[in-house]
Symmetry: C2
Subunit: 759 residues, 2 copies
Amino acid sequence: MKGFKLLPLVCLTLLSFEYASGQNFKYVDPRIGSEGLGNVFIGPSCPYGMIKPGPDNDLHANSGYTADLDEPIYGFSQTHVSGTGGGAKYGNVSVMPFSGEFNSIKQESLRDNEKIAIGYYGARLSKYDIQTEITTSDRAAFYRFKFNSESKNAVKIDLGRYLDESNLPDGRETQQFVGSQVEVVSNTEVRGYTKIRGGWNNGGAYTVYFSAVFDKPFSNFSTWKDSVFYPNEAVQVDEGEKTGAMLFFDDLSGKIVNMKIGISFISSLKAKQNIDKEIPHWDFEKELVETQLKWEDLLSRVEVDSEATTDQKTMLYTGLYHTMLMPVDRTGENPLWENNGPYYDDFYAIWDTYRSSSPLITLLNPSREVDIVNAMLQIYKRDGYLPDARSGNSNGRTQGGSNAEVVIADAFVKGLKGINYKLGLEAMMKDAMYPPGGNEEKEGRGGLVDYNRLGYVSTDYVRSGNRTVEYAYNDYCLAIVAKGIKRKGEYWRFIKQSDNWQNLWRDIEDNGSRGFIMPKNARGKWVDSIQCAATNGKINYVPYTPLAQDWPNCVCWWCGVFYEASSWEYSLSIPHDVAMLIQKSGGNEAFEKRLNTFFREGFYNVANEPSFLTPNLYHWLGRPDLSSDRIHKIIDENYNAGAAGIPGNDDSGAMSSWLAFHMMGLYPNAGQSYYLINTPYFKETIIHQENGKDFIIKAKNLSSKNKYIKSALLNQKPFNTAFIEHEDIINGGVLELIMSDKPSNKWGKTIVPPSKSDY
Amino acid sequence: MKGFKLLPLVCLTLLSFEYASGQNFKYVDPRIGSEGLGNVFIGPSCPYGMIKPGPDNDLHANSGYTADLDEPIYGFSQTHVSGTGGGAKYGNVSVMPFSGEFNSIKQESLRDNEKIAIGYYGARLSKYDIQTEITTSDRAAFYRFKFNSESKNAVKIDLGRYLDESNLPDGRETQQFVGSQVEVVSNTEVRGYTKIRGGWNNGGAYTVYFSAVFDKPFSNFSTWKDSVFYPNEAVQVDEGEKTGAMLFFDDLSGKIVNMKIGISFISSLKAKQNIDKEIPHWDFEKELVETQLKWEDLLSRVEVDSEATTDQKTMLYTGLYHTMLMPVDRTGENPLWENNGPYYDDFYAIWDTYRSSSPLITLLNPSREVDIVNAMLQIYKRDGYLPDARSGNSNGRTQGGSNAEVVIADAFVKGLKGINYKLGLEAMMKDAMYPPGGNEEKEGRGGLVDYNRLGYVSTDYVRSGNRTVEYAYNDYCLAIVAKGIKRKGEYWRFIKQSDNWQNLWRDIEDNGSRGFIMPKNARGKWVDSIQCAATNGKINYVPYTPLAQDWPNCVCWWCGVFYEASSWEYSLSIPHDVAMLIQKSGGNEAFEKRLNTFFREGFYNVANEPSFLTPNLYHWLGRPDLSSDRIHKIIDENYNAGAAGIPGNDDSGAMSSWLAFHMMGLYPNAGQSYYLINTPYFKETIIHQENGKDFIIKAKNLSSKNKYIKSALLNQKPFNTAFIEHEDIINGGVLELIMSDKPSNKWGKTIVPPSKSDY
């Protein structure tokens, strides 16, 4: 954390505008995760909204924004991602109001009076004394500028600015400029586009078209190309140069200029159509209320009891909010193939989101998840592979497994209708059978030739450790779908392959625990040391232990044995066969000790998705009480309702959805049909499901002391397992947890959650 | 040949317009290859021109055109390819003038008075009595419509029409509609675009933007969307539907309307800019002359003696013309990455063109070839692989080898400057080392895993026979470049691999010759029979002999052991090691007999590129006289100056360049630095080179009787080999061939052209 000047959190209800009717959206604070490592987008957005307008004051911030008040805003761009790490993406079509001299295309200003709320961003640009407010619909944003300066006033639209700019062609994880165009159509409308390539996923060129309309005519204008102004020249054609337009307004002092800006990935006329369809009026407050209502429709699907604290509700609803910012709904906006089905972009990355974000959407908004899965299947069908990460209409950047397969399996086992699972299996088989070719970072399974030949990914390939572990689980998911649609041959092949993690299981001891996923070379020999940097001409080797971390010091960030983690983390990440994992670790007692060591010694990384399930592994020892203890400790120590309340990159809602599930007392094992039951944060949680049936989780006598589940009833019948099937939830009903100050001797003890090797 | 009604060939000099100064372009007849199998584009085009406007009267014709006068024209579209086979591509932005009722978006008319010449197309639409003429610049076309009807007259711009339409998503080799947009900007301008995917190379979506401007205002208009008319509605936004515009003109009878239409792959404003830059006037004849001059600049680089017949000159210059239609120069029009270098599209396919088209461009227009190679290298750098075929900004459809490697090697051995050969080697290594992944038809080397593991492509993969043979030659080309830039490790590896064709050489006899490339399975066993269709429930096997052809009856067109040929053809296609081929075939006598059998028995396919070099193989026996006999017989029997004068698909100029080379008496062995010398068709051929130096080929005493080269002088010194180095040509000079009525006992006898195993 840099020691920068921070804005105090203001109470949201003090904002000058009125809230729409409804309750829950009030508790969303988009600022949670905007400081520290969260990297969330703080501007207004609709659920899964395509346009994400917001301030940019840090070219290298993933969301364009830093809370540091000493960093001047240089513009408000229309496209952002939320919670990501690595290089930035987007930040396109930058709008900036300003006053004073017009002799440069660069303007910037510090801000004050900043207000951030759901569907709203507001700040005063102090240098120019211009109040800027933004609200938004799905594909068009509404800007309200109040100019207070008596000097000349203007609005600039800059098509040459974007995040993480690099002039290096194909600079890794940076964005490169391709072209832009601007056309002043009338004295109230400007159209154009910006075309950029690269970014975090090293994707192909994407084009963001726009149309900006004003409620007051500008008196004159100047376009520019490559930093040269062309006064009153209406068109700058795309010749691979940066272009933009400055629109000059007379006599604005004390007056408001409203601007609506629509975007499109198809054309600037479509961008205009998006404005006309979505915001056919000039009423800022009305638009804000509509956005609030869109969110309320989703957020009201979870209701908690009145004893919940404001902080708890803020954390819960902001968690749901963050989960539903991405992927973005670009249905009808696909420039690559026919727009006759759902299309989503900004899967960023499925490696992060498959564990808890997708399951949360499936639980609260299953019709949306059906659309998302169908969009993924069309991506497979047209682009050749399912995405692992995708942004700007390009697959790119697999991190470990081919985890879209888990998303498909999760939809399948939870009975989502309206998905062609035969096509789903075909897509999964493509991952599992066909190496991704010349770019193993783009899609599919890198190192697959090894994996299918040797049963593990050898150290000839980067990320061999986590790839092997993840592919084994991906194979399990494939097998489950194959079995479900009666494809026995595939089932038997892949259910067997799902044991492949055991091929890298090495019986060594570390910190008192036995057995770890360890690197093995292509000749089948364990690798004991890793070549590291050379010192004074002599190559260094470092011993490879379960706690070793070869990246980024010895090898590149993406080139280690395990991606973003140690063997300690990945060796516990066997979600389909915890029973076998326990057995190979030396049995229940050794495994409990191992888990305790893991958390006590700090081998656990709260911010890392591969460990998302690990605090729950005590369930498989018959000790759900220990899971709950662990989870509550993690949340209480790492999450809060403040701006730095997310302990790592939110990763497109991954961490937020993990939190939201646990606050409700449920946690999914993605790809499998059940939820683990933990001590909730609320005495009562009602899930109003899309099918009209409510599912209610009650925690009777819950208190800080009574934190253990003593027994449970499902629809008033005894319910003795610490996990519950998705089917039981969608059928509606009441899960009553009877809380106590002591761990139960019975509940969750005898029947532990499923493991593959139990079958 | 269908028995359709054909237009008699009219003498070109009878056309109503005047020719520009200069000579050679007069001899170009774009109709050669427009009947029979040639599939050439007959409309006007600049050299490598991006816009190719022309009539469409056959939705499934590769160039949109059939000479059949009974097939009505439905429009004139702006994009075409020339000479291709398989499914069609392009045919975008269809323009149609018409008269009469306006109640349908479909119009069509038979034609008469058709005139086809370089840079010009003209015909009368007999149904409407409208004379339509077209000429063109590089990126904008000029249409002149003379309306004679007294009824209502109109021009239609249809964005929903294109060649080989299919509603089947991803229909193989067909095109699918993605979207379109139209905007009537003023009463003299219409803008918009059409977006299509698929086509022969099964490519991604491409967008053809346009701007059409008229020299007379239309009085009113109607746009349409999805077949519904919207009178006077100026804009139809892209919503995935077919759109278009009809422009109605008052009082046109007897009058001319001129229309200029620019296209762009970037934006419709850029399409307009292309008009403004290239045709800033309304003078049809002036534009026609400019196009003629552009061609003359290239065609005048070859000059032949005055005794050449008109037919000979027509065949020669039309051959050069066809060679320079594609690939198309899209520099500045690349929507995928920065436009700061040359960009070419429509490599269609390099498998066809590497043998003679690229070498011909290198000889006559080396600066252009440098740009083309650099564009290919950028395609490798940005898209990951060199193209084998590419169209609509998408790599796609490898036929056999990764033959872009031959093009790079050809440029290297011929000393083309301004190419980063280090990057070239990197690109070649990518092909040779990294399997192309999930789509083995798209790029790279399909079956590479086998090839690198076994030394041949096994029958586990389609096209295993020709892939093995071609990869071996590709490896040779890679090795030569590696050696040249002092990369010895790569040289030794790949020069060794270039013998891999021998791994499929099977010592069997067929039709009196021994030794053939034959299929082998992955366990190293020869495959004697191929599974074919089942009859009455019983699977048929057909014996696999060197003349067997498994496609398309037993397997799909692309799925046989050899692509588009038999083993007889590919077994003679070892361009880097003819000496070893001769040795393995049983020595000189056996090989001569083999060649004679090949041609006599009709195992030779004149229309197939793998046999392009074969008539020249007698050179390696010290019998260049037999090569010349064979070549002249092939040409005289198969080529002529008529509309059906090309015996197969021209394949983007492949057959035309083969012909043109042979008429000059030279033939390249692409990827190697020399030309084989054959009996020319001309007593004197002067090549005016870009470097300012002339190279003259004289054939002293040439006559139908004196058809053998008795001896030769290079710059007046004895020259006894039947091949000449490229360097000798670019240095300028005179090659004097002394002709005789008997084969020489000396010339070309002792030193035969190089072979790898001679080194």
